[in-house]
């Protein structure tokens, strides 16, 4: 993933034609069979079902009309409230009790799925507006929490959920830690790439003051297709 790829991903999630697949995904996830399958184990519940609901929310948000989007954006300066909503939802849903309650209390399950849909949509509608600093703040918090919670789950000698086995809990912990670490590294790599490119750009712009110099560098760094 680089800056370009990330932007393409965001654009893809916002493609209006993907709103229908988003709705379909939500419908499939809501099926009792899909629920049973995804909630049968602790790691699938948290690192598969949660992101799938968020993905569905993100795709659905792409289907919003321009006017609706503008209206929402008025309440979401620089994507701050959207990122806050997503972060709050993810944080609250990491409390182990949620996993147990979602299995037995339909109201909690409904609230959980709705919150994840909203979080996915909020992320989609806020990410690009947020800018590098807010994105970094959001990711720094979420990924650190993911890694810490993952370690807690993996290391705890006690079962944190009555409905799941200890081995399952360990696996979830390892998944959470691995995913958080991977995303953090990818994001850092992207930021480095972006910074390096920006430096190159400013270097080039500074170079315009010495036209000969700039022309020489331009020739060296970006040869035109015609030249052999």
């Amino acid at each position: 993933m680089n800056g370009h790829g990330g932007r393409r991903l965001i654009a893809l999630l916002g493609d209006r034609r993907l709103a229908w697949p988003g709705l379909l995904l939500a419908a499939v996830l809501a099926l009792p069979a899909a629920r049973t399958l995804l909630e049968a184990s602790m790691w699938r519940h948290m690192v598969l079902q949660y992101p799938l609901w968020m993905l569905s929310g993100a795709l659905l948000a792409g289907g919003l009309s321009g006017r609706m989007r503008e209206r929402l954006a008025r309440w979401n300066a620089s994507g701050i409230s959207g990122l806050l909503l997503a972060g709050t939802v993810i944080t609250v849903l990491m409390i182990p009790r949620v996993l147990d309650l979602a299995l037995v209390a339909p109201a909690v399950e409904l609230a959980k799925c709705g919150a994840l849909l909203a979080a996915g949509a909020a992320l989609r509608l806020s990410w690009r507006q947020a800018g590098l600093v807010a994105q970094g703040f959001f990711l720094g918090n979420m990924l650190l929490m993911g890694a810490v919670v993952g370690q807690l789950y993996a290391q705890s000698p006690l079962r944190l959920c009555n409905a799941y086995l200890l081995g399952d809990q360990e696996r979830l912990g390892q998944w959470l830690t691995a995913i958080s670490t991977t995303v953090a590294l990818l994001w850092l790599a992207q930021v480095f790439w972006w910074v390096a490119r920006r430096d190159a750009d400013t270097g080039r712009m500074a170079g315009t003051q010495a036209p000969q110099d700039a022309a020489a560098r331009e020739g060296a760094s970006a040869p035109s297709p015609q030249s052999p």
């Binding site: 409230s81 609250v92 009790r97 086995l165």
Partner: protein, 210 residues
């Protein structure tokens, strides 16, 4: 725009705090098991009138069996090869304490009760044999199971016991020491490691009757 964003952000933060606070009983518990123990301590759970089969039971139903004495109970099943064995030894130690340290005058009697959640297999005869193997004193330590599957499910649900099959073909459950009071209510849930605490609490409860 900034003002609206600040307002909605505040609402989101309050909502998140309220949800987290509700889920964790004001940030005191993080797990369902913790919540169950706290809820039981705050509001005792009346035992259901489920029919029992077992060893030397004073009454045919659970609530009636529990009434009149303070009971330390736990759930197990006789085919268990793992954690129930340590449960058995916990109860053997509790029985030894009850035998060597007599109750105060006028206090309610203290009893031990091992409840099986494998009612289909653990008949009265099977329980009797199992009790014999553990050296249970039939007057102090009773064994029982619920033969009716629907009643058994209702009992497990009422007491917050979750039984799930594990990879070894056995059952994992939130094993704990349940304390029933003399009025037939579950009043406390202790961790297996808190055996001493459970015994002291039960003694205290029994002596309060007079």
């Amino acid at each position: 725009m900034v003002l609206r964003t600040a307002l909605i952000s505040l609402l989101v933060a309050i909502g998140g705090y309220a949800a987290a606070s509700w889920l964790t009983h004001d940030f005191r518990v993080w797990t369902e098991e913790g919540a169950r123990r706290l809820e039981v301590a705050l509001a005792p759970v009346p035992l259901p009138e489920v029919a029992l089969q077992g060893t030397r039971l004073p009454a045919p139903t659970l609530a009636a069996t529990a009434r009149g004495s303070v009971t330390i109970a736990d759930f197990f099943y006789t085919r268990c090869q793992t954690v129930c064995l340590s449960l058995g030894s916990t109860f053997q130690q509790l029985q030894a304490r009850l035998q060597t340290e007599p109750q105060d005058e006028g206090a309610a009697p203290l009893r031990l009760l091992s409840l099986s959640f494998d009612g289909a297999h653990d008949s009265a005869a099977v329980l009797q044999a199992y009790a014999g193997k553990l050296g249970a004193d039939p007057d102090l330590w009773r064994f029982a199971s619920v033969p009716d599957a629907a009643q058994q499910r209702a009992l497990l649900e009422r007491l917050g016991v979750v039984v799930i099959p594990d990879e070894l073909g056995e059952f994992e459950h939130n094993a704990a020491l349940l304390v029933f009071d003399a009025r037939g209510r579950m009043v406390r849930v202790f961790d297996l490691a808190e055996q001493e605490l459970a015994l002291n609490y039960a003694r205290q409860l029994a002596s309060k009757r007079s």
